[in-house]
């Protein structure tokens, strides 16, 4: 998979005209800005929501292909919405590509935003070209989905996103077990030696 920061060729052709797209932003003007940019890309946003509650009502009923959500919203934040979605069990919506946009992310929320399960965070200001670049990247995002502790979402490692085969994981577990056994054996031997010396 290419680097997210890599530019797109002008002549590259893409087709997202039939993508069922949802845009969530509490600001009416923010919603307008995102929608006109998307229309330029040939995407006609199907669901426009001004709150997380509106989005949830739609997401529980209708499958969508792409979500663009603003980070800062009154009530339920954008990252809280994405976390809810990833844990919702809704198929296919729980796995839908999500782009989060943010004018500014408070330091206290950085980890929450990072861990919410969005595919990409786009910080403003961004140009039409950079938004399209992120969109295409997210559409081609082949990172596997992870469930680890409280995290559910695409693998956060951009370069090492390779799902390991079952036998590979098994081999690691066996290596770990052997290592632990050897360490325990060494500790026992050291204790015996100490006892003998005493």
């Amino acid at each position: 998979m290419s680097d997210p920061a890599e530019g797109l060729r002008d002549s590259a052709v893409f087709n997202l005209t039939s993508a069922v797209t949802m845009v969530v932003d509490d600001s009416a003007f923010g919603l307008d800005l995102t929608c006109v940019a998307l229309r330029g890309f040939g995407i006609n946003p199907r669901h426009l929501c001004t709150s997380a509650a509106d989005a949830i009502a739609i997401l529980t009923e209708h499958p969508v292909d792409l979500i663009l959500v603003d980070c800062e919203m009154p009530g339920m934040d954008g990252h809280e919405l994405v976390r809810w979605l990833r844990n919702s069990g809704l198929d296919p919506n729980a796995y839908v590509p999500v782009i989060m946009t943010a004018a500014h992310v408070r330091a206290s929320k950085v980890s929450s935003v990072r861990d919410c399960g969005a595919n990409f965070l786009v910080t403003k200001p961004f140009s039409a070209a950079s938004l399209l670049q992120r969109l295409v990247w997210v559409a081609r995002d082949s990172r596997p989905f992870l469930e680890a502790g409280n995290y559910k979402g695409p693998d956060r490692r951009f370069n090492a996103s390779r799902a390991r085969a079952e036998d590979e994981r098994r081999a690691e577990m066996i290596a770990l077990a052997i290592h632990e056994e050897e360490a325990a054996e060494a500790a026992r031997a050291a204790a015996d030696a100490k006892e003998t010396a005493a």
Partner: protein, 160 residues
């Protein structure tokens, strides 16, 4: 030991993107810019209004129980400037607004009283940036350098 589950999912979007038809990146970006241009005047009006609101905020006294709310309002206004100015390449204005958001955010994590002059200085700087002609590159840089000094003094780690 925590359990990690991997799931290989192919999104419908990844299939749609390669369907026949569609448009080239160059055409898509040109169309998006053209569409955004229709909102540029509205953006300028909103940005000017938010900056004016920011400049008009009255510094709360340190004992004012609403001081925190006033600070949140300043943060929201500054953030709204970035939101509205975002797609129009007003990078200087967005840099000033981002700096103010950083400073307010940093202050909200300490118990020390916030120096409200920071809001006033940033609001005035944003008004100046808005009023400057496009060719006043040096003046704009001086304004941003001054704001950067404020940021460096208050949050040394924020300035690289």
């Amino acid at each position: 030991m925590s359990v990690v589950l991997w799931q290989r999912r192919k999104s419908r979007l990844s299939t749609l993107i390669d369907q026949p038809g569609g448009l080239s990146v160059a055409v898509a970006v040109a169309q998006a810019r053209e569409n955004l241009d229709t909102l540029q005047a509205k953006s300028q009006t909103i940005v000017a209004a938010r900056v004016a609101e920011l400049a008009a905020l009255i510094a709360p006294s340190p004992t004012d129980p609403d001081a925190a709310r006033q600070l949140t309002l300043a943060y929201d206004l500054s953030s709204a400037v970035i939101d509205a100015a975002g797609p129009f390449e007003l990078y200087d204005l967005c840099t000033a607004a981002t700096g103010l958001c950083d400073l307010i955010d940093a202050a909200s994590q300490t118990d020390r009283p916030f120096d409200w002059r920071i809001v006033t200085v940033h609001a005035q700087a944003m008004q100046l940036i808005l009023s400057l002609p496009a060719e006043a590159v040096d003046t704009r840089r001086q304004v941003l350098d001054s704001l950067k000094q404020v940021l460096a003094k208050k949050i040394p780690l924020a300035v690289g």
